[in-house]
């Protein structure tokens, strides 16, 4: 039924606006902190006002339900006049003397960039030349890009600062995660383990931001887990780099250009075709065969799609979030026979529109493409195009409530439901979970219970 509407011409007049209303995007330091949090022994240090560390910490706490220790150089009026060198120098010294980290990952802010602090020079002077602690200088002003570009900039800064070619290949594959959940990372690791492929995750929050409570209530000074700095150094010797989110993949391009490590920038592994491609890429880079267990998981995904296709065929779904996850979910929804009506991302990326257009051509869908915009516009287009289901982070709740449709939560941040960070929506297994969530949301929302008896 819903698919019939797609033949109608779509006319959504979108007036350009100056004001942004309900942005599903955050600023660069937020993403940069997440990149740093995935490195073992790395303390993020925000060079800016105190709000610039406090707000991201708050977001991490409410999404992951974990504490996140982030340092800040506490810039104030005097820095606006004299520059922030004194504060940054003192901050580096204090973080080193109290936490003795392997790395300090610096994120700049609106303020430090506008006053023009030379972070590389200041941080070089702040530590002794023979100091083993390394400082990662990422440029992440909030007036450029979004949380996702912040992640990308910090990840590239990590690799640029640390990676060294040794000559001997390490027979590993680099995986740049982008902003995904601990559950997602565990699933990708599981796939690589089943395929017997050694790996380096750039970076890995699966333990640092999903920590256990251990007997006696002991908490280490810096969280266990995360990618070891020597693995980031070694990333220059890998067989290749796969970026799960292309928008966070500039470190892969850097490794390719600088060290000839092949970069694979492909769609995120969600759904059948995109996960197939991911598995094929791993196989291509590593020479690994595709084992039966992977094929069985793929078969279970197809089985799960077959099981629910009567419920889901033609279901209108509107999706917002980070570009690579959204476009991969749009394809998966199309594969499952659903009707993706709106695909929206606040972070602009060159692959987003071509991805959606290709899906529209292949599946004869008419998914509207919204890029670099806000949830106010998303809502307007949802009203025009229709949606029986919304997919997005917690900020989609009001849109879903106003349209009286369920919201299936994915992305960052999700703070009004528990446990979302624990589960994967990536890979064959994650896709099964995502489809089940979508189906159960439809079945749980005013679905005639009589029709659920078979």
């Amino acid at each position: 039924m819903a698919l019939m509407n797609k033949s109608l011409p779509v006319k959504t007049v979108r007036k350009p606006r100056n004001v942004t209303i309900n942005p599903p995007k955050m600023c660069q330091p937020m993403g940069a902190i997440l990149a740093y949090m995935g490195v073992h022994g790395c303390v993020p240090l925000v060079h800016g006002s105190q709000g610039c560390s406090t707000y991201p910490r708050y977001n991490i706490a409410r999404h992951f339900r974990e504490s996140a220790e982030v340092a800040v150089s506490s810039l104030a009026e005097d820095a606006a006049v004299y520059g922030g060198a004194k504060n940054l120098t003192e901050a580096i010294k204090n973080v080193k003397s109290r936490l003795n980290p392997a790395l300090i990952g610096i994120c700049t802010t609106c303020m430090s960039e506008t006053i023009g602090d030379d972070v590389r020079l200041i941080s070089k002077k702040a530590i002794a030349p023979d100091d083993t602690m390394r400082i990662i200088p990422a440029s992440t002003p909030s007036y450029v890009g979004t949380h996702l570009t912040g992640y990308d900039n910090a990840m590239r800064a990590l690799v640029e600062t640390l990676a060294v070619k040794k000559g001997e290949p390490n027979n590993k594959i680099n995986i740049i995660t982008g902003i995904i959940n601990p559950g997602d990372i565990r699933e990708i690791k599981n796939m690589l383990r089943v395929m017997n492929v050694n790996n380096i995750f750039l970076s890995d929050i699966s333990e640092t931001l999903d920590t256990p409570i251990m007997p006696g209530g002991h908490k280490p000074l810096l969280p266990d887990g995360g990618t070891e700095p020597f693995d980031i150094i070694d990333s220059a010797n890998s067989l290749g780099t796969i970026a799960i989110c292309r928008a966070a993949g500039s470190a892969a391009t850097y490794l390719q250009n600088k060290f000839k490590v092949p970069a694979v920038l492909a769609p995120a592994p969600i759904g059948v075709v995109n996960t197939d491609r991911f598995v094929q890429n791993i196989s291509m880079l590593s020479g690994a065969l595709i084992p039966d267990e992977i094929k069985k998981n793929r078969g279970r995904l197809i089985d799960s799609m077959v099981d629910v296709h009567h419920y889901m065929y033609g279901r209108k779904v509107a999706i917002f979030g980070d570009p690579d996850l959204v476009s991969a979910i749009v394809r998966f929804c199309a594969e499952a026979g659903m009707n993706p009506t709106v695909a929206m991302t606040a972070t602009k990326h060159k692959d987003f529109a071509p991805d959606i257009k290709a899906i529209n051509t292949e599946y004869k869908t008419d998914t509207q493409i919204l890029e670099g915009t806000d949830l106010y516009e998303f809502h307007e287009v949802v009203k025009a195009q229709g949606a029986e289901l919304i997919l997005g982070n917690s900020k989609g709740k009001d849109v879903a409530d106003d349209e009286d449709v369920p919201l299936v939560r994915f992305g960052f941040p999700v703070y009004d439901r528990v446990g979302v960070y624990r589960y994967s929506i990536l890979g064959y297994n994650g896709s099964i979970y995502l489809l089940d969530q979508m189906t159960n949301a439809i079945l749980g929302h005013k679905y005639d219970p009589d029709k659920l008896h078979q």
Binding site: Q50, T54, S67, N94, V95, T146, T211, I213
Partner: protein, 456 residues
């Protein structure tokens, strides 16, 4: 010596004057309201947070427009649980979303257009509050002139708040800026439709999780007319007539005494400090107000009615909580607001800390503290952890950023900023508070912390 240098602070001895062990023979207050030690893992936020997040943000029918890059607007979108009976201020987030181009060429035009567009799209907004972030202060946009121009164009008040994040040492300056701006630009611009001899404002009550909905009716039942609540569940139109109150009572004495003082100085309206937490303090506040308005009997009647309803609940929880020890770490006033109520539950507060307390906050803490009480100004994450491990309180009342650290240490926690299942104010709210403490402390989940898994 009553100052302490915890182990984690040995490399930064400048923290020592901020940490006090209370000695009634030799009362010393922690050094406070000064710049944070850079890199000390502070829990502090910025001036923007105090202005937008705390004082200005709760005004429910103002378009809350953040002039700056996107982050600052996003992070204050519906976060603090300052509830209202309308949707505008928590459901919508407005930002000029400044980009590099604006940083180079200025954001004036974008701001002007954003104000006009917001008004066109949300005509239900009765005013536009424009908050400046760091970068706006640095590039020098003349927000005063732009807001004036916009106001003439759209015909509703457009109020600029100069609350750039880098100003001051903490959120505290942001409170002051919000108070001063609202006093100078809004209070007194309109007269109330009518006045009565019993007009009062509740100042510094932000309706966290519905606190104002509990405390406001208490005074109304006494026969007091609450002219406005500053700013919990407030309409913009509640603020202009504040100068015609006969009395202001101040609940949050850190963020909002400023406006009560300014109204007193300019319009001669007296104010009194109150604590609307706990049975005794709330009763005392009602009595003080009753005395002022000569409504003593009414106050006693309301107190008696409330105690009849809720005192048994407090006795119930006291039995389960007596003898417990707690830490309280709040912005500032709730640290001392809650020390007395804890004693009503048989709980002793062995450590208090505040993010942005001033001298008067610490005086109020020391008045209530027992010898040996530890008091920390602007604590950082490492100090909090060290004291949680060393002193092992039975529970910790802090904010979300400290919550999960505390859990990992196996210590029960209550979110005192936005509450767990509030409201916590007034008589009824104190029962909710006691219940949340009981839930935290007496849940069976904690017993597994000390049950390691061993092979049989």
């Amino acid at each position: 010596m009553t100052t302490i240098l915890p182990e984690c602070d040995i490399p930064i001895p400048q923290r020592q004057p901020h940490i006090i062990c209370h000695d009634p023979e030799n009362i010393l207050l922690p050094m406070c309201n000064v710049q944070t030690v850079p890199g000390d893992m502070t829990e502090r936020g910025c001036t923007f947070a105090g202005c937008r997040g705390v004082v200005g943000g709760p005004v429910k029918d103002a378009i809350q427009l953040v002039h700056g890059p996107i982050g600052c607007a996003y992070y204050t979108w519906g976060t603090r649980r300052n509830l209202s009976d309308t949707k505008l201020h928590r459901k919508y987030c407005f930002s000029t979303d400044l980009t590099e181009e604006s940083v180079i060429y200025g954001g004036a035009k974008k701001l002007l257009n954003s104000i006009i567009e917001s008004h066109e799209l949300f005509p239900e907004g009765k005013a536009v509050f424009v908050y400046s972030t760091c970068v706006v202060g640095l590039i020098g946009d003349d927000t005063e002139a732009i807001c004036k121009q916009a106001q003439e164009k759209i015909g509703i008040p457009v109020i600029p708040f100069h609350c750039e994040g880098f100003r001051g040492v903490s959120q505290s300056l942001g409170h002051h800026i919000a108070n001063r701006t609202l006093f100078e630009k809004v209070v007194g611009t309109e007269e109330p439709q009518e006045t009565t001899p019993y007009d009062m404002c509740i100042v510094g009550e932000f309706n966290i999780d519905g606190d104002a909905w509990i405390v406001k009716p208490l005074f109304e039942r006494m026969g007091v007319r609450v002219l406005s609540v500053f700013t919990g569940n407030a309409s913009y139109s509640d603020i202009p007539p504040m100068h015609r109150a006969k009395l202001n009572i101040v609940q949050c004495q850190r963020s909002s005494t400023y406006i009560a003082k300014m109204i007193q100085d300019k319009y001669g309206v007296p104010y009194i400090n109150v604590s609307l937490f706990g049975m005794k303090q709330t009763a005392e506040a009602l009595r003080d107000v009753g005395k002022f308005f000569r409504l003593e009997e009414n106050a006693e009647k309301v107190i008696a009615e409330e105690l009849a309803l809720y005192q048994s609940g407090i006795y119930h929880y006291r039995k389960k909580l007596e003898g417990k020890k707690c830490f309280i770490y709040q912005g500032a006033p709730r640290a001392w607001h809650w020390m007395g109520p804890m004693r009503e539950l048989g709980i002793e507060t062995i450590l208090t800390a505040t993010t942005f307390g001033h001298k008067d906050d610490y005086e109020k803490i020391m008045e209530k503290a027992n010898p040996g009480h530890i008091c920390i100004d602007n604590p950082n994450a490492l100090e909090i952890e060290e004291y949680l491990v060393k002193l092992k309180p039975d529970f910790f009342i802090g904010g979300l950023k400290e919550k999960y650290l505390t859990y990992k240490l196996g210590i029960p926690f209550i979110n005192g900023h936005s509450y767990e299942e509030g409201p916590y104010a007034g008589f009824e709210g104190f029962v909710n508070f006691a219940k949340d403490i009981d839930v935290a402390v007496n849940s069976p989940v904690w017993k597994f912390i000390n049950q390691p898994l061993e092979a049989k």
